[in-house]
């Protein structure tokens, strides 16, 4: 059923470029937060598209997005980096309606690091690893 899958991820409403807006705090020197996104892997032996493992997904997420030129920043725009930055974009209308720009940090980031056993370990920002095995030998 799940053969030759392309692994997808949602973007939680964010673009990638650096902010061109004065009210959007991330500086152009800061690494751009990784936006969740569609990811795909290819089997080099068969040339077939296949599922990305969680480890591969995490490893990919650890690759910093390229910094963008000022021209690109102006062209593509950028999401607020986090909730605090998003709060600066809140607008309240007289009728009680509220709008806000969606922050990039609305979804947590999964980081990858190489553990003591050489395997990639997944961890979320601020949270201990608690991966339960979904496949087991016994």
């Amino acid at each position: 059923m799940n053969h030759s899958k392309i692994t997808l991820s949602v973007a939680a409403g964010f673009c990638f470029a650096l902010s061109a807006q004065a009210q959007q705090p991330p500086s152009s020197d800061a690494p751009e937060p990784q936006a969740p996104a569609i990811k795909v892997a290819i089997d080099p032996a068969t040339g077939r598209i296949r599922n990305l493992t969680p480890e591969e997904s995490a490893a990919l997420s650890s690759i910093p997005a390229q910094k963008r030129s000022a021209a690109d920043a102006a062209r593509y725009g950028s999401a607020p980096a986090d909730n605090a930055a998003a709060a600066l974009t809140v607008r309240k209308a007289a009728n009680g309606s509220v709008s806000v720009r969606v922050p990039q940090s609305a979804m947590t980031q999964l980081n990858a690091r190489v553990g003591a056993d050489g395997r990639i370990v997944l961890s979320e920002s601020g949270h201990a690893d608690e991966a339960a095995p979904e496949e087991a030998m016994k």
Binding site: A11, C15, F16, A17, A37, K39, S97, M107, P133, K138
Partner: protein, 569 residues
């Protein structure tokens, strides 16, 4: 096909429903600079119904097609603006980010908001309010959008998933190793339209964009099968939400429309059927060794394994007495040795199949039993959770086991028919929670994985139903070509979007023919005939498409020559 038949039947009924708003107009806004991305001038041969003659042309045509497809399916009187671009995204030689999209703004407590204090993606909020809620001084380039989307510009080039590449055809015939751009764009625009929840996947906290945690249109309908609460319910804690989105199968969609249409879309589920002193239909984990369990190979009287050794005599970690399980389905406790060793011991004692039951001390949940390279099992085996295992052991002797379907149970849905969301035990940012579960069969557009079997040009499966649950109006009436209606439903229960496809074809046929109305008409008639030949359209539907295309062509002629329109046009 079941889906086609049932959908057509229901669609004909729903055809009569009132359309409260017009089909949405979704506008891709080309953000790329001249000479690259959507403006790539590299020559390209037309492919799969995409008439573009440059890479940029073909990319824009697919983008527009996906936008028009969704636009025909959803209702809104406010245009949806989608920033579109190709950019360099993280990539390696064997893996990479293909693209991303999502809402640019969210809104709450606007006029006609269905639920107070709840965030709605901008496109949905605007549709519900009937106005662009974000228009104002800040709604200027590049923030004059409702959805942002970007796709990988380097795919297939050195260092970025080498050997792969985008497929820009509109016919779903994606060559091996290539990626169907239309499916990916349709998926990503789906997220931008609101197929996502803003729960913090680490802490489980609801979206806190303005100093107060609040639910959102998607999250509020997510349901925790352990507590029996929706994610936005007052009794639902952050910790419980966090646990629910880390437990496979635990979080489901509680919307009525998806539940109704899941019956039309999902395959019937195989369950372990226990009968006798106990009657139960159990979900099970599968084995990567031995033959897959089927109705044909998994049936018989259950017998408890007893190896007479160790702390647990039912763990089958030692050889079992010869013939002790002859013709029986062995029941074995999990633990101590590998799954496959247990199954081999049962097989050697004559068992025809094996059930391995969790103990209270086992890791909870269903798992995939992996292969033990030291042994080879030749009989089917299943794994069940501790509660189900305990019930079986309490009912022995006097039980039979078989594998089969049960009315009302579907692959990727819980026992009540709610469709599962993607909640792997290891959080996958951007994937977790905001997709249907990867367990669905057949695969759905909004799963975390796409397969070549997807054909977004014709089928958006359960996604329109989910949008309906969140508050979107979904068009069931005849799709239009230009302003002229056809009798082909824009969308049908079960997710077929044949009418939307026909509507989207208009801009494909206008490509290069905008000032040649007769060529445009020829293209539309040819497409209608192709769909008729493929039995996608009935003869009557095809005729209505032809008629609408002809009327649209006349409009184009009036427009081209700036002729005053008669009062009846």
């Amino acid at each position: 096909m079941k889906r086609r038949t049932l959908s057509l039947a229901l669609g004909s009924v729903l055809l009569l429903s009132t359309v409260a708003a017009n089909a949405a107009t979704i506008i891709p806004l080309n953000r790329d600079p001249a000479g690259s991305g959507l403006n790539d001038p590299t020559a390209a041969a037309p492919v799969g119904g995409n008439p573009g003659k440059t890479v940029g042309d073909q990319r824009r045509i697919v983008y527009q097609f996906a936008a028009d497809l969704w636009g025909a399916v959803l209702r809104s009187d406010v245009e949806v603006r989608v920033a579109a671009s190709f950019q360099s995204l993280p990539c390696t030689a064997t893996a990479g980010v293909l693209g991303a999209a999502g809402p640019w703004y969210v809104n709450r407590d606007f006029p006609n908001a269905p639920v107070a204090g709840t965030w709605y993606s901008a496109a949905l909020a605007n549709s519900l309010a009937g106005t662009n809620l974000n228009a104002g001084a800040d709604y200027v380039f590049p923030n004059d959008i409702d959805i942002s989307s970007a796709f990988n510009a380097d795919l297939g080039s050195p260092g970025c998933i080498e050997g792969s590449g985008w497929y820009y055809g509109l016919d779903g015939r994606t060559p091996e190793g290539q990626l169907n751009f239309l499916n990916v764009v349709a998926h990503e625009i789906g997220h931008g339209l609101g197929f996502l929840g803003f729960v913090d996947q680490g802490s489980g906290q609801l979206a806190n964009f303005d100093g107060t945690p609040r639910s959102d249109a998607y999250t509020r309908i997510a349901f925790d099968n352990v507590t029996g609460l929706r994610f936005g319910d007052a009794g639902m804690t952050d910790e419980t939400r966090a646990a629910a989105i880390r437990t496979p199968g635990r979080t489901v969609w509680d919307g009525t429309r998806v539940k109704q249409e899941a019956k039309l879309v999902l395959d019937e589920k195989l369950l372990l059927k226990i009968r006798g002193t106990v009657s139960a239909n159990n979900d099970y984990g599968t084995a990567s060794f031995g033959p897959a369990a089927t109705a044909a190979n998994f049936s018989g009287t259950i017998a408890l394994a007893n190896d007479g050794a160790g702390a647990d005599t039912a763990d089958a970690c030692e050889a079992l007495p010869a013939g002790s399980l002859s013709g029986r389905v062995a029941f074995i406790n999990r633990g101590t040795c590998s799954f496959e060793v247990k199954v081999v011991n049962a097989q050697n004692a004559g068992a025809v199949a094996a059930i391995i039951g969790n103990l209270a001390t086992s890791p909870p949940g269903l798992i995939a039993m992996s292969d033990d390279p030291t042994v080879v099992a030749d009989i089917p085996a299943l794994q069940i959770v501790a509660a189900d295992a305990d019930a079986i052991k309490a009912g022995l002797p006097g039980l039979t086991a078989s594998v089969g379907t049960v009315p009302g149970r579907f692959v990727g849905a819980d026992a009540t028919g709610r469709v599962q969301l993607f909640t792997p035990s290891v959080v996958q940012p951007g994937s977790t929670f905001s997709h249907f579960d990867a367990a669905l069969s057949p695969n759905a557009l909004m799963e975390p994985g796409l397969t070549p079997t997807l054909n977004a040009q014709f089928n958006l499966d359960l996604t329109p139903a989910l949008f309906k649950d969140t508050g979107w109006g979904v068009s069931r009436g005849g799709a239009k070509i230009g302003r002229w209606p056809t009798i082909v439903p824009a969308s049908q229960a079960g997710g077929l979007v044949i009418g939307a496809n026909v509507s989207a074809q208009r801009n494909v046929c206008l490509f290069g023919n905008a000032d040649q109305p007769l060529k445009y008409l020829k293209c539309m008639l040819s497409y209608s005939q192709t769909l008729r030949t493929q039995n996608v359209l009935t003869t009557r539907e095809s005729l209505s498409v032809n008629s609408a295309a002809l009327s649209d062509t006349i409009d184009l002629i009036y427009q081209q020559y700036n002729l005053p329109r008669p009062k009846n046009r």
